[in-house]
């Protein structure tokens, strides 16, 4: 390899590292602000008296919404989006607009659906019937947009999706199974129904993260 090629490679590595650090910092700041705001709102009593299960469910739902918002913002402003999303340039975001747009919408609605359950009666302000109806409508939208997104995916994304699904199943077995086992034997309190839903949502995200990381696809381009 010539000296010029070495210098170019070093510059490229530096650019990727800078982009990775920027994206991580941005995600951290936005995540912190969102969590802080939600906790402030919960502490004010505006969302009723939420226990730990409900607070964690609301936070996980918010994580979905924040992630979806980041993708949505990136799609609306590809030049800015290419600076923190894992794409080569703004044009790639335009190319993937249909797939990513539907995916972001699905994530946002799924996140809001979990948040609605977190603040449902009797502890929260939303009546049980209304919460069920809103949840059902939001999840219907999430399913429709996810299918629309899937139809636009190529074989790599489909492979990652399948692996993430399998990984989520194993994580659920590990986390939910261990928790249930220990509760069954009387060592700890068992998961509440909302905890199971939170685990589905959270572990789906974690599963996708692990699979992407294992493939080395978290490295910024």
């Amino acid at each position: 390899m010539t000296q010029i090629e070495n210098e170019l490679e070093a510059a490229e590595k530096k650019r990727r590292l800078k982009k990775t650090v920027f994206a991580m910092l941005l995600g951290g700041v936005v995540g912190f602000l969102g969590s802080f705001g939600l906790m402030q709102l919960a502490d004010s009593g505006a969302l009723g008296s939420l226990d730990a299960s409900r607070e964690i469910a609301a936070l996980v739902g918010m994580l979905y919404v924040v992630t979806a918002a980041a993708i949505g913002f990136g799609l609306m402003s590809p030049t800015a989006g290419a600076k923190f999303l894992n794409v080569e340039d703004p044009e790639e975001l335009r190319e993937q607009k249909g797939m990513l747009g539907n995916s972001a919408l699905g994530m946002a609605t799924a996140g809001v659906a979990l948040m609605v359950l977190a603040i449902a009666a009797p502890a929260g302000p939303i009546g049980q019937g209304a919460a069920l109806a809103v949840f059902a409508v939001l999840m219907l939208v999430a399913v429709i947009t996810s299918i629309a997104s899937m139809k636009k995916q190529d074989e790599l994304m489909k492979a990652v999706g399948s692996e993430a699904g399998a990984m989520t199943y194993y994580l659920l077995l590990l986390v939910g199974g261990t928790w249930s086992l220990l509760a069954h034997l009387g060592f700890i309190a068992g998961p509440q129904p909302l905890d199971w839903l939170t685990m589905f949502w959270a572990l789906m995200l974690l599963g996708a993260f692990i699979v992407t990381a294992k493939r080395g696809m978290l490295t910024m381009r």
């Binding site: 080569e88 044009e91 190319e95 190529d154 074989e155 790599l156 080395g216």
Partner: protein, 68 residues
């Protein structure tokens, strides 16, 4: 699996986006194959080989040898 996709692509003067468009896949897929993060399906490998006018083993390198 190691491959010579990048070399063949550059030989043809195509960008990753151009190759992706010709193959009907995303740029991310081309990038993932070139950086050994993803082994393409057999149909896609065949399409790649056909596009470059070579055989699949010339594009994808497998060191495995059968036992004597």
């Amino acid at each position: 699996m190691k491959n010579r996709l990048k070399a063949y692509r550059e030989e043809h003067g195509w960008s990753q986006g151009e190759l992706a468009r010709r193959l009907g896949v995303s740029r991310q897929t081309i990038n993932a194959v070139e950086t050994d993060k993803y082994d393409p399906s057999l149909p896609l490998a065949l399409r790649m080989a056909k596009l470059f006018g070579v055989n699949v083993p010339e594009l994808f390198i497998d060191d495995w040898e059968p036992d004597e």
